[in-house]
Assembly symmetry: C2
Homo-oligomer: 78 residues x 2
């Protein structure tokens, strides 16, 4: 099985966020993760890096103020 574990970077540490992740897709200001059992989790974060052979996904929180500014810009551009 080729699922991966998703960890959230917290300073120097990496905290387990979700085990056995199958699907990752963008969702609103962050990501939606779905594990192999169909459970969903949402997080306001982006992918920092990912190594599939090691089954590791590292997530990093997004600054919410920056997200808001980006959203305003995107809606004014598109």
């Amino acid at each position: 099985m080729c699922e991966a574990n998703a960890y959230l970077k917290d300073g120097e540490n990496e905290v387990m966020f979700m085990e056995s992740v199958d699907v990752i897709e963008p969702y609103e200001n962050g990501l939606k993760l779905i594990d192999i059992f169909g459970m969903q989790k949402f997080i306001q974060a982006k992918i920092k890096d990912m190594t599939l052979l090691n089954h590791r996904i590292i997530l990093e929180k997004i600054d919410s103020e920056l997200v808001q500014i980006k959203l305003n810009i995107e809606s004014s551009v598109t």
Copy 2:
């Protein structure tokens, strides 16, 4: 082996961009992909969705004008 194939979404089609991808990480305005042989590719794109059990990563090109505006905003915020 748990590598995945990366496809670039082009309208309704999905065009193979890189086979046997191991590592994905952000790089400048896009992504750096490294395959299981250590070959690197760069693309100005973001992850549209990813299903690890199906070994599929779908990439989507980023509008370069939008990227530039975001970069300007980020550098003025941070």
